[in-house]
Every structure is written in structure tokens, then in C-alpha cells.
């Protein structure tokens, strides 16, 4: 908890709402420009950093080898990758600016305490495009908090911003709640870096339907979108589909919030996936990561009770990254079904039908091997091997929400757009405005790129406004 009288005692040059990567980049840039900075983090210190604490890499353009990055990754290739996942739902000007700026960000990150390492085991496909943080996102967050502290930034934990006071198009102050106390923090400029709203299950249920109450939230429970909602209510222009969130299929036994990276399950392509009724419902072999990763959350969300079960046999147990919880296990399919709480006879029938539809051929786990079933619907179009070899293993799957798309529209200077043009002294960075650039889908490490580029930009712009 923070001394609230210190917050209320003066008019700050820059108030940053949020405590993740984008907020920290903004705070550091603004402090380096010589302004007084107050950073308001709604989480307690052990949970500081928003979703950034769960991240692991930074997608970075580079014309040649750069730090831990090999080869080159040019602007056009990067932009093509973005178009592939968004289907064009992006603002090309902002997107290209972000991509170009990423190359200058990496050395800046290193100079401000971030350490990089070559890509982790199991992620070799990202070695050229993504620079991994040594120790992951929390290590990055720690480094930035230390840098910010050394620069004199005032950090308040458990300081939730409940309302932004705006006169005409001018930010005046922020209401801050900490425990049972409430103060008003006056500032000359405001940087919004408060993330999405995915931790507010009521809001998710409003947008998505009641099924959302069965979703797991992969990141911080503190991204409740309070300030986002407040700003939208005061005429800020929104971007991104308000009903959509990015959801992946994760281990259904994971925690409600903050399960992070470890609850991911990579078993789907080697398995058959059945719903609560013991029936298959989609082609498990359609595609490799990351496309598969991106669609299965949605698929499971559409099944009864928002749950599904991935079933493999002994042949496949070592074919993917280990799970955080051991799988359920049995020597017969009925036995496994019983352990998973599924109708045994039906699951047995589903497996037998699937097995009978499998065809001989060469299995190649790392590529689309074309080993497909014949005569069943839905088909499994790759990696279709009969499930015959005990012990049999099963993992429950649930949708895990990573982030929401709804956010604030910003211009090329990161200024938040109001109904009649930008607010005079409000900027936004990170997940709260990422919908402008990533309107749909998911691109590994791109959230951190948007947060870093726009966080730095917003911090510099806010400081320049004060000067």
C-alpha cells in the first residue's frame, strides 16, 4: 500500500495508469526527459506488471543479426505475418510504424536493464523473429521497476484508478482508490496503459454470453478495464470488436486467473478431442501452432459446459511439451473415460470409429504429414494415428482468455481520440490501444512490441507536452 497523501500532495507532470510493460516504458521515457512521474499500479507488488509478467519475448524487426536474433526480419515480412493473423484488421500506418520502431527498441530495452537470451527449447521456430527475455516477462518487469525507481518515478501499488476527470478535451485528475481510501491525483498529462478488461467476468459475459463464466483467465486478475470503460463513457473513440477476446485451449484444471504459460497444452494435434458427450467435433489435425493454438479456445467455448477432453495413447505421450499437471491415465478407454467423467461406452465407440478410419502412412510430428482419416466427419487431416496403445491419457481443455480486443483509438503520436479529435493531454499505450493494430488473431511477441513502441512514444510525448 502506498502513502496516499504523497499522491495527492502535488500536481504531477505525468500520471501513468497501469504497471505493465507499456506503463513502465512510458514512465521511464518521461522521467528521463526530466518530468515528475507517478505510476499507479492497481495490483499489489507481488503481482505487479499486468500481463507483461507472463510474457516471454519481443517480436522485433531487424535488417541483420541483432542481439540474440539471427538472420534478418524485414518490415514487409513482419507486416505480412501481421496481415496473416489479422486478416487485414489492422491500421497499416500504425502497424508499420510499430514494426519499424521495434528495431530501435531492442537496444533501448537492453540499455534499461532487460536481458535477452536465445529462444527457449521448444520454440526454435521463433529464434529469428522473437528475442526472448532472460527469465521471462517478470524479469523484464523487475528490471524496468528498478530503472524507474532509480530515475525517481513514484510508484504506487494497490492504487486503482476509478475515474478520470476531463474538462472539455483536457485531462485534469484521476480518482485513486487504495483499500478503503480514496484520493484525487492531479496531473498535467495522462498516459493510459491499463490493459484490457478480460479479468472482469461480468463484462466478458455481457460481451460473449454466459458461457464466458466458464472461461479461465490466463493473465492477471487486475485487468478489469475500469479506466477503459470510464474513458469510453466520456467520449473516447473505441477500436476493436467489443465482443471478442483471444482465447486458447488450455489445461482445464488450471487456476481461474494467472495460470500463465504453464497451462498451455500442445497435445491436440496428436489426439482426438471429444466433448462432454464423448463426441468429436472438429479436425484436430487441421494446422500447426500458432493457428491451431488460436482457434481451439473458441472451439471449446462453443461446446457444452465449455469443456473438452484431449485423448492420446502411449505412442504420443512424449511428442509435446510436458503439461503442468500429470494427465489422467488408464489402461482401457472406458477406464480413462470414467476418470475424466465421460460416458465410457460413447467414448469407446468414438475411439473405435476414429481408429477404423485411420490409414497407414508416415507420421511426422513437426510438419503437416497428410496422415488423414477416411470416411468420418469431422475428419482428422494430419497426424491421424489410431489410439490403441495403452496406457491411454486424457487432458481436460477449457478456453483460456489471453486478452480482449476492445480498446482506445490512438493516432500516430499515441494520443487518445475523442469525438472531435484527440484529447489534448491523454496518451495510450499497450493492450488498452492494441486493438488498433492487432484487430484480430494473435502474433507471438507482438503485444510486447506494441507496448514498448507506444509506451516509449507516449512517455516522450507527454513529457514534451509538459516542457
Amino acid at each position: 500500500m502506498t502513502d496516499l497523501s504523497e499522491i495527492a500532495g502535488k500536481t504531477w507532470d505525468v500520471i501513468v495508469v497501469g504497471g505493465g510493460n507499456a506503463a513502465l516504458c512510458a514512465a521511464i521515457e518521461a522521467a528521463e526527459a526530466g518530468t515528475s512521474v507517478l505510476l499507479l499500479e492497481s495490483a499489489p507488488k507481488p503481482y505487479r506488471g499486468g500481463n507483461s509478467r507472463h510474457t516471454r519475448n519481443f517480436r522485433c524487426m531487424h535488417e541483420g543479426p541483432l542481439s540474440v536474433l539471427t538472420g534478418s526480419y524485414g518490415e514487409d515480412e513482419y507486416f505480412d505475418d501481421l496481415i496473416k493473423v489479422t486478416g487485414g484488421e489492422t491500421d497499416e500506418t500504425l502497424a508499420r510504424m510499430t514494426i519499424r520502431e521495434s528495431e530501435r527498441c531492442l537496444p533501448w530495452m537492453e540499455a534499461h536493464g532487460v536481458r535477452f537470451q536465445p529462444s527457449l527449447s521448444g520454440t526454435l521456430s521463433l529464434g529469428r523473429t522473437n528475442a526472448f527475455f532472460l527469465g521471462g516477462g517478470k524479469a523484464l518487469v523487475n528490471a524496468y521497476y528498478n530503472t524507474a525507481e532509480d530515475l525517481g518515478v513514484t510508484v504506487a501499488y494497490e492504487a486503482e484508478v476509478t475515474h478520470i476527470s476531463i474538462t472539455d478535451d483536457h485531462f485534469e485528475s484521476a480518482d485513486v482508490r487504495s483499500g478503503n481510501e480514496q484520493v484525487n491525483a492531479r496531473g498535467r498529462t495522462l498516459v493510459m496503459a491499463s490493459g484490457g478488461f478480460q479479468a472482469d467476468l461480468d463484462w466478458l459475459a455481457e460481451a460473449w454470453g454466459p458461457a464466458a463464466r466458464n472461461f479461465l483467465i490466463r493473465g492477471t486478475p487486475y485487468n478489469r478495464g475500469v479506466v477503459l470503460k470510464d474513458m469510453l463513457g466520456q467520449g473516447a473513440v473505441s477500436v476493436g470488436d467489443p465482443t471478442q477476446c483471444h482465447a486458447v485451449a488450455i489445461d482445464g484444471r488450471g487456476p481461474r486467473y494467472d495460470g500463465g504459460i504453464v497451462t498451455r497444452l500442445d497435445c491436440v494435434p496428436f489426439s482426438i478431442v471429444v466433448n462432454r458427450n464423448g463426441e468429436r467435433f472438429y479436425d484436430e489435425g487441421e494446422d500447426v501452432w500458432p493457428k491451431r493454438y488460436a482457434i481451439w479456445g473458441r472451439l471449446v467455448a462453443a461446446e457444452p459446459d465449455q469443456v473438452a477432453y484431449s485423448i492420446i495413447d502411449a505412442k504420443s505421450i512424449d511428442a509435446f511439451m510436458p503439461s503442468v499437471y500429470p494427465p489422467e491415465q488408464a489402461d482401457t478407454i472406458e477406464g480413462l473415460a470414467q476418470r475424466l467423467g465421460l460416458p465410457g461406452a460413447k467414448v469407446k465407440e468414438t475411439v473405435e470409429t476414429f481408429n477404423a478410419a485411420c490409414r497407414p502412412g508416415d507420421f511426422a510430428p513437426t510438419e503437416l504429414d497428410g496422415l488423414a482419416t477416411e470416411g468420418i466427419t469431422p475428419a482428422k487431416t494430419n497426424w491421424a494415428r489410431p489410439i490403441t496403445e495403452p496406457p491411454f491419457y486424457g487432458y481436460p481443455l477449457r478456453p483460456g482468455v489471453t486478452f480482449t480486443y476492445l480498446g482506445l483509438k490512438v493516432d500516430e503520436r499515441a494520443r487518445v481520440s475523442g469525438g472531435y479529435g484527440p484529447f489534448q493531454n491523454i496518451w495510450a499505450a499497450g493492450e488498452v490501444m492494441a486493438g488498433s493494430i492487432l484487430g484480430k488473431g494473435y502474433l507471438a511477441g507482438f503485444g510486447m512490441t506494441i507496448g514498448t513502441v507506444f509506451g516509449r512514444l507516449a512517455g516522450r510525448e507527454a513529457a514534451a507536452h509538459v516542457r
Binding site: R115, Q117, G260, P322, S323
Partner: protein, 362 residues
């Protein structure tokens, strides 16, 4: 099943749970050898956990980088669970076991051991005072020193040997080659496992800020100790070559011993200070006092040796001789059971790691 083996099982179960979470995450791969060793496995037998525990040098980088530390429900604290597994494994391997329980956990037991060593030397000084002799040999003859210190050196070596054999069996160790030893020595000599992976050091005394203070203090202690040991060995060789003590400053024993003693004292004091600043809950709190006692004993051994040399020719020699030899005696005799055992088991873990890595390269 006894209460203590229940406790061991509980600790192993928690270690396994934590390591399996790490294996699903892998963010810490770049910090040290522990995480790449984890990723080579899917299931972790008891011996695998023992090996990981001894490979971990408690740099704590993984703790501060971890998304899953308390208050998160996963409640990961890998440095602590590995420290506790390590301590527990040394107690299990030690021969006779109860001595390890005593000296690892209890700093004052080490103090008492030192006092006993001190008393024994005093008794020898009184009862066995030689007719003649030069330097400290005027107070205690070479023959009496050998009679006390030869068994005090060899018995612990036998005990350590037994412990290492038990450890080696548990971790599935294989025949050791020169190349394995060379890899382990290079790693230990540079304290690579405390480098943080990129030379930034550990998260020890400054929480989530990195620092090389502990690595440097430990280097001073390690190399200081080895120099002192070399000084004593060279003195022994010179003695039998017909050149008994006392030695001047420009003799091998002093050229090795004086800088060695200085390094040992500086390093040990540094480690003591750092240890008081670090979070005890990221190590094994049960052995904190024993570890402090051990480092103090090291510091006192070095300081009394230097003082003894400085006091050459004065009336302080008998008293300082008793203090110094008493400390050395206590140090040697408790070696298999005190924190000193860590050097042997960690080295064994580095050798085993070199073997596994060589095998996985094919």
C-alpha cells in the same frame, strides 16, 4: 514409516511438483544449469531431484523471475525446496548421519567443536611440551601435530568418500573421465552457476537486483582456502625434505599462505555480511545458523593463522597456536557434516552434469 522419512517423502513430493511446473514453463533456461537439466526429463525420480538440488547454487534468479511465487497458488520457491532437498540429501549420505544433522543445523555445535579442538591443543601444549624446537615447534612438536592432524585429516576424508559414494549411486553416476572432471573444475573454478547466465550475478542480497558480490566473496573464500591448503601441504613437503618451519616471508608456505589467509578472511566476512542481508526463506532456514557458524569458523581459521604469523617470536604464540590449530582441527573433523560438505557434493553434481551432457550430445 518413521516421521523423518515421511518428511523426506513430503519434501521430495513438493520438489517434484515444483520441478514439473518449471518444466512446463522453461522461462528460466538461461540462468544456470538446473533448468536445461530439467528440460531433459519428463519424469523425475528421487535421484534426479537430488542431482538437481546439488546442481543448484542458490543464486535465486529463478525465484525473482518467477510468475508463480506466493501469493500465487502454485507457491513456487525452487531455491528453497532445492536447498532443503540438498541439506536433507547431505544428512542422508553422511556417515555417521546424526553428526550431519547436528553440525549442519546448529552453529553453536560448531562453536563447541572448536572449543573442544582448542582445549585439546591446549592440553597438548601443556602436557606434551617439547624439550626443544624452533618457532611454534618450540611449543608443540612436529610429531605431536602429525599424531593429531593426520587422523583428523584422513578420517573425514573416509567419511566424505562414503557420502560421495552413496550420492553417486543415488544419482546414477557413471565412470568418471578426465574430461568430466575438467568440465566440472572449469565450472566450479569460475563459479559459473552464480553468474546469472550472463555475468550479471545473483539475486542474493539486493532482492531482484543482480549483484556479483556473493560470487566474488565466494571466489575469495574458495581460492583463499585452496591457497591456505596448498601452503600447509607445501610446508609438509618441505618438512620431510629436510627444511622444517619456521619459514620466512619469501618461502612457498608463506607466499601461498599469507595471500590465502587474507583472501579467506575477506571472502568469509563478505559472505557473512551478505548472508545477513539475504532473505532466509529462499534457502533452507533450518541450517542458517549452521552455515553462519561454518563461515565464521573459516574466517577465524584464516584470521588466527595470519595472527600467528604476525606474532612470531612474541609471547602470544602459544595462545594463538591453540586458537589456530583448534579452529583447523574443528574445521577438518566436521568437514563431512558441516556446510563444507557442499563443496564435495556440488562438485560431484557438476561432474554428473558433465556426464549427462556428454551422453546427450552422443
Amino acid at each position: 514409516m518413521s516421521a523423518s522419512s515421511d518428511k523426506v517423502d513430503e519434501l521430495l513430493a513438493d520438489g517434484r511438483r515444483q520441478v514439473e511446473i518449471c518444466n512446463a514453463c522453461r522461462y528460466c533456461e538461461g540462468f544456470c544449469s538446473v533448468f536445461p537439466a530439467i528440460t531433459r526429463k519428463r519424469q523425475f525420480a528421487d535421484g534426479d531431484l537430488t542431482q538437481l538440488a546439488n546442481l543448484c547454487h542458490n543464486c535465486r534468479a529463478c525465484y525473482y523471475a518467477c510468475q508463480y511465487t506466493e501469493p500465487h497458488e502454485f507457491a513456487l520457491n525452487l531455491p528453497r525446496v532445492l536447498a532443503e532437498l540438498r541439506v536433507q540429501s547431505w544428512e542422508r549420505f553422511a556417515w555417521p548421519g546424526p553428526l550431519a544433522r547436528l553440525f549442519q543445523r546448529n552453529g553453536s555445535a560448531l562453536g563447541i567443536a572448536m572449543a573442544l579442538g582448542f582445549a585439546l591443543i591446549l592440553f597438548a601444549l601443556q602436557a606434551l611440551r617439547p624439550e626443544s624446537g624452533e618457532g611454534f615447534y618450540a611449543h608443540l612438536s612436529h610429531g605431536v601435530m602429525v599424531a593429531i592432524f593426520l587422523p583428523a585429516f584422513l578420517l573425514p576424508l573416509v567419511a566424505i568418500g562414503i557420502g560421495l559414494r552413496r550420492n553417486w549411486r543415488e544419482v546414477g553416476g557413471q565412470a568418471v573421465t578426465w574430461s568430466h572432471l575438467a568440465h566440472a573444475a572449469a565450472n566450479a573454478g569460475r563459479l559459473q552457476e552464480l553468474s546469472g547466465g550472463q555475468g550479471q550475478g545473483c539475486n542474493f542480497e539486493k532482492e531482484d537486483r543482480f549483484s556479483n558480490a556473493r560470487r566474488h566473496a565466494h571466489q575469495a573464500t574458495l581460492w583463499g582456502f585452496l591457497l591456505c591448503f596448498a601452503a600447509t601441504s607445501s610446508g609438509t613437503v618441505l618438512h620431510y625434505a629436510g627444511w622444517p618451519a619456521p619459514y620466512g616471508l619469501f618461502s612457498l608456505p608463506k607466499l601461498l599462505g599469507v595471500p590465502g589467509g587474507l583472501l579467506l578472511v575477506i571472502g568469509a566476512v563478505g559472505l557473512l555480511v551478505l548472508k545477513t542481508k539475504a532473505d532466509r526463506n529462499l534457502g533452507a532456514p533450518s541450517v542458517w545458523s549452521g552455515e553462519m557458524g561454518f563461515v565464521l569458523l573459516l574466517a577465524l581459521t584464516g584470521a588466527s593463522g595470519l595472527a600467528l604469523y604476525a606474532a612470531t617470536g612474541t609471547s602470544l604464540v602459544p595462545a594463538l597456536l591453540a586458537v589456530h590449530l583448534g579452529a583447523v582441527l574443528a574445521f577438518f573433523l566436521t568437514t563431512p557434516y558441516s556446510k563444507m560438505a557442499h563443496g564435495f557434493y556440488r562438485f560431484a553434481a557438476l561432474v554428473r552434469e558433465a556426464q549427462i551432457k556428454a551422453a546427450s550430445r552422443g
